[in-house]
């Protein structure tokens, strides 16, 4: 983990309430897709954890949804402003554990980390396919970016306004190895029909680096911290409350 200052190079909306922000700075602490950064914002005590969408040597991209004071403040920031971040946090997706054809399943603002994962799976000679779930057509983002990686993309919407009507599970046969990120009900539904995989969880965090036990969950292997032992947990270790 590092504490670093990043400079915003771009911050623009993708939909009504989802923004993409690009940051330049040292990314050497990032070791796996699915990791997150923890952002200090003026006037707020706790940092805000946001998953990393993608990164290279020069910087990183985050995609976030405006859900409260922190993300609202972020949405108003301009290029050239700086952010104090803890970086290299969390246990991300394990590429080596993925089979040849994993299915990446993202729901809403759970989609972004799967992009960095897809790129690295392809780089390691795997052929992922992608299922992206949204409530409605107006909320869709990221589908074109995945398509440009050459992966097969299926979009689902709950109201049927685009793609397959229904939840992401409508596009799964069952029995697949899945790398998932999204709201907990989605993760649970996907976990139920998958044969294996890796699932990224979200939680209100205190520190983001394993010190406060604010985001613990029960697993087959005992209590784990979403921030440090997760956010990505394996299919086998997950226990649903």
């Amino acid at each position: 983990m590092n504490q670093l200052t990043y400079t915003i190079t771009k911050n623009a909306p993708l939909t009504a309430d989802v923004y993409r922000m690009t940051l330049t700075g040292d990314t050497s602490a990032i070791t796996a897709p699915g990791q997150f950064i923890n952002i200090k914002l003026d006037g707020l005590f706790l940092r805000r954890p946001i998953s990393i969408c993608d990164w290279d040597e020069e910087g990183l991209t985050i995609i976030y949804k405006v859900v409260g004071r922190g993300t609202e403040q972020m949405s108003k920031m301009k290029s050239g402003e700086t952010l104090d971040c803890l970086v290299g946090l969390g246990n991300g997706y394990d590429i080596a554990a993925c089979p040849q054809n994993p299915v990446l399943v993202g729901g809403g603002v759970g989609v972004p980390p799967l992009y960095g994962l897809a790129k690295r799976l392809i780089a390691s000679d795997r052929k992922p396919s992608v299922i992206l779930g949204f409530n409605t057509a107006a909320e869709i983002f990221g589908d074109m970016e995945f398509a440009s990686l050459g992966v097969n993309v299926t979009v689902t919407t709950v109201d049927g306004s685009a793609g397959v009507k229904g939840f992401v599970t409508s596009a799964l046969k069952g029995g697949e190895y899945v790398c998932a990120c999204g709201p907990e009900p989605m993760l649970k539904a996907v976990h139920k029909i998958a044969s294996g995989g890796q699932f990224s969880f979200e939680a209100r965090m205190g520190c983001g680096f394993g010190a406060c036990m604010g985001c613990s969950c029960q697993t087959v292997a005992g209590p784990k911290r979403i921030c440090k032992d997760g956010p990505v947990l394996t299919y086998e270790e997950i226990l649903w409350p």
Partner: protein, 305 residues
Amino acid sequence: MPNLSVNLAGLRLDNPVIPASGTFGFGYEFAELYDINVLGSIALKGTTKEPRFGNPLPRIAECEGGLINSVGLQNPGVHAVIDEELPRLEKVFHKPAVANISGFAIEDYACCAELFDKDPRIGILEINVSCPNVHNGGMSFGTEPESAAAVTRAVKAVTKKPVFMKLTPNVTDIAAIARACADAGADGISLINTLLGMRIDLKRRAPVIANTMGGFSGRAVFPVALRMVWQVYEATGLPIMGIGGVSSAEDVIEMLLAGATAVQVGAENLVKPWACPQIIEALPAAMQKYGIENLSDIIGGAHHG
């Protein structure tokens, strides 16, 4: 060269800065970030007789100048702490640590204290009396002088190590509780624990914290903590570990002037992981600015007459 060392109930600390229990785990997450031997000591994660998973999530809520937590004393239990956590800590930390003990019955406290008493890696026992007493309708041990004194006596009976009673601020008369602990043989007082608070999520129209209420800490509580350190110093004269909202070298000096011998840094560690070493590094310049040669000279220095 300014002298940062203090003598805390017989234990010589290189400096008075100690990360507070519950914000530092068992130390080794931070040992990945910096050499934790720069710290005066470490107050370990609150330990109970049996393992505890703690409270349901969410356990954390944002507040102005701090946070509310309702972790619920998640810990692996005293036996696992001694057999698994302390051996790991020992590899990266070479000073006596502060064991923090919680219990739900007086026997629980005595059981943990007896086990830690035998452990050479532990220098001080810090007894958290903010927990509910299951044999007394769930009333916190720390809210009545008699029950706080009873815990003190039970712990003192089984250990020769210095015993610091960690007091809850959620009381009418902190001095009366501290005096009861002092009369029962406490070697020192740690304060304050968190202030009971809550937040409501406007969208859900429901409490943010799953357990409704939690403990508020962070910079905002500093004046309350300082006031209580002041009162307890006047009431008991015992060595004090001052806790609550400490985030700078100036805060450390202020706490010492109020009567603290050492200072614990809590919530600040969670948002600034390097907070403790940064405070320790900033102390010499701050001491010089206020004409302090030895930190130990200023303990209680703002009390006149």
